[in-house]
């Protein structure tokens, strides 16, 4: 396997705002994911993590402008926008959403929604599709006879399971999971994560897990990227990020205790994330950083390789500046 399964290169996303303003939501994001890998994308809300994975599937609104490349087995699927990305949706990359509260259409049965995906992509039809959909439900731990039920008859956890079953309908290579456990209670959260991990192992499925919840990443993922202000601050194996972080933000983030109610992400790092509708000069984290020094307010840090599989964007790692400090 010479090329990675999925490689994101220099991804940038801008949103048009009223009055001609622009919000630069994702800035020069690059990372790659191997087959069967479970990769985490972590950060506070508004750091651009959800926008990043929506961009991977071309699911951005018309106010968005995208540049950069998303290489799926070497093919740039974003090259022609909607046209080039649509054939890959669900067959190669599928997605599950936050809490699955409304991700399922309330007026269609769960079965019909799974079958719809299969029929559309020519996986199976009619009774055959229905029996396959039943097997999928079974695989995620739902009795197959519940195919004919409506989403509102399912509990939150079951809805998310059904959404996962639907996401697997076309045997995708990559599953994007956007905060899949928020809005679920703790017990159910653990079950869903366990399910994702098991499916990834059994099916050789690549999972990209977007979350603000660090323990979740630690539990499920092998590698992760920490995003801040639309950029990747640090990327590497989760172990390394935990124990040998080379970015002050990662360190503060991992030291911070998540809010016990789990409702809002109250991370006790003082200050607020930068405003992305204005140009950022220097390091985006600099105003909140307790280790900021001379170059930080003016020089933008680049990702610097610190090991075979570990990169961080912080001037503290730059030998050129370290001499000064």
């Amino acid at each position: 396997m010479t090329s990675p399964l999925l490689a994101v290169q220099d991804l940038e996303v801008w949103f048009d705002l009223p009055h001609g303003d622009t919000l630069h939501a994702v800035r020069r994001v690059s990372f790659s994911v191997e087959r069967g890998e479970r990769f985490g994308l972590v950060g506070e809300s508004g750091c651009g993590k959800t926008t990043t994975i929506l961009a991977l599937m071309g699911l951005l609104p018309p106010t968005a402008t995208v540049s950069g490349r998303v290489l799926l087995e070497g093919e740039d699927i974003l090259e022609d926008g909607e046209t080039s990305v649509r054939p890959h949706r669900w067959t190669d990359i599928s997605m599950i959403f936050q809490g699955a509260m409304n991700a399922l259409n309330p007026v269609q049965t769960v079965g019909a929604q799974i079958v719809e995906a299969m029929e559309l992509h020519g996986i199976a039809e009619g009774a055959d599709a229905k029996s396959q959909a039943g097997q999928l439900l079974e695989m995620v731990g739902i009795a197959p006879d519940r195919l004919d039920r409506y989403p509102h008859e399912f509990s939150g956890g079951m809805r998310q399971r059904a959404a996962i079953a639907m996401a697997l309908a076309c045997e995708p290579k990559v599953l994007l999971a956007d905060e899949p456990t928020t809005a679920l209670d703790v017990m159910v959260q653990a079950q869903i994560l366990l399910l994702l991990e098991r499916l990834s192992q059994e099916l050789g499925l690549t999972v990209i897990l977007v979350t603000h919840d660090l323990p979740v990443v630690a539990e499920v993922c092998g590698r992760a990227a920490v995003m801040y202000g639309g950029e990747i601050a640090e990327v590497g194996p989760v172990d390394t990020l935990y124990h040998d972080s080379r970015h002050p933000y990662t360190r503060l983030l991992f030291a911070a205790v998540p809010d016990p109610t789990g409702e809002e992400e109250v991370v006790s790092i003082p200050g607020a994330p930068p405003r992305l509708d204005r140009p950022i000069v220097g390091c985006p984290f600099q105003p909140r950083c307790d280790r900021a020094f001379e170059p930080c307010p003016t020089e933008q840090p680049r990702l610097i390789a610190l090991g075979a599989d570990h990169q961080a964007a912080c001037h503290l790692n730059d030998p050129a500046f370290r001499a000064v400090s």
Binding site: P62, P270, A272, P287
Partner: protein
């Protein structure tokens, strides 16, 4: 080390709240069509107020032949009684606007009180008030207005009262839903916990929050009230001694302006009503849309996102 900003998340929240308070003006300012609407509304109010001073002729003085076409002296021609149309329009604005604002004031008073009481107190109060509202909603308002106007007799005051008392239900529903959601917000709960009385809480904390929707509901009610006035006038149920736009349409229609081809007697009053209603609807609709959080996001649009092929354009 001083680079760390010690900022509470709550400070940010407070900032958004402050922003919310000025929303009416901000929403209107951002949308040129509503400014046009406000301008038109202001213009008509001005004309109505100044009618006796700026009208070129009297509202009852015959100045030429019946249905005389537009001329330099009479830019909108004359009506079936030979009265200057432009002057009639100016005088007509008075009654139409009076009905619009008067009836709305009544609707607002009744509907607003019912809505606030129901939404704020909840429980049984709400149940009873809303059940009454439900029954009122089922009564077709135009026929009821006709029946009442026919039975009670036709005066301007009656018309205002009738329209006002039939339009309150809608305001009540809008306001109730709003008050209910505002009541659950933190600062209202806090105000109550700190011992603020119900009246104080409603006027200091709840009303300012629902103001934008209240304004939307007011302008939309004005539109409906003016519309209803023309309907009653057209059916011959308006005050016989008062000139209104609805009455002008009715008179022209009765005097066979259509078959006489005297469009100038019938087009302008209807156009005035239409423009006024359009202005109110524009303002109201825009406010409602802007305040509806469910309209903000859209996951499907005809146009896709754009691709920028220049990989990097800033350093």
């Amino acid at each position: 080390m001083s680079a760390v900003i010690q900022e509470e998340p709550g400070v940010l929240e407070g900032a958004t709240e402050g922003r919310r308070r000025s929303t009416i003006w901000q929403i209107l300012k951002d949308r040129p069509s509503t400014l046009v609407g406000l301008g038109v509304l202001g213009f008509f109010i001005l004309v109505a107020g100044l009618a006796p001073h700026i009208a070129p002729y009297g509202a009852h003085t015959q100045v030429g032949a019946p249905f005389a076409p537009p001329s330099p002296k009479h830019p909108l021609g004359l009506d079936d009684g030979g009265i200057d149309m432009l002057s009639l329009l100016m005088y007509g604005a008075r009654a139409s606007l009076l009905v619009g604002f008067g009836a709305t004031a009544i609707a607002l008073l009744v509907g607003g009180s019912v809505g606030i009481l129901a939404g704020y107190y909840g429980g049984r109060t709400e149940g009873i008030l809303m059940r009454i509202t439900d029954y009122f909603l089922v009564i077709p308002d135009v026929p009821l207005m006709i029946v009442i106007a026919a039975i009670w007799g036709q005066s301007l005051l009656h018309i205002i009262l009738i329209i006002g008392f039939l339009l309150w239900t809608w305001t009540a529903r809008v306001i109730r839903a709003q008050v209910k959601s505002v009541r659950e917000r933190v600062y209202v709960k806090r105000a109550r916990a700190l011992g603020a009385g119900n009246g104080r809480t409603i006027f200091r904390h709840v009303l300012p929050q629902i103001a934008p929707l209240l304004v939307a509901s007011i302008v939309l009610t004005i539109a409906v009230a003016i519309f209803d006035e023309t309907a009653l006038a057209y059916l011959g149920l308006s005050d016989p001694s008062v000139i209104s736009w609805g009455k002008l349409i009715k008179n022209a229609s009765d005097a066979a302006a259509v078959s006489a081809g005297a469009w100038w007697a019938i087009v302008p009053p209807g156009l005035c009503v239409a423009v006024l209603i359009l202005s109110c609807t524009l303002i109201g609709q825009v406010l409602e849309d802007a305040l509806n959080p469910r309209l903000r996001a859209s996951y499907l649009a005809a146009r896709g996102f754009r691709i920028r092929r220049v990989a990097r354009e800033e350093g």
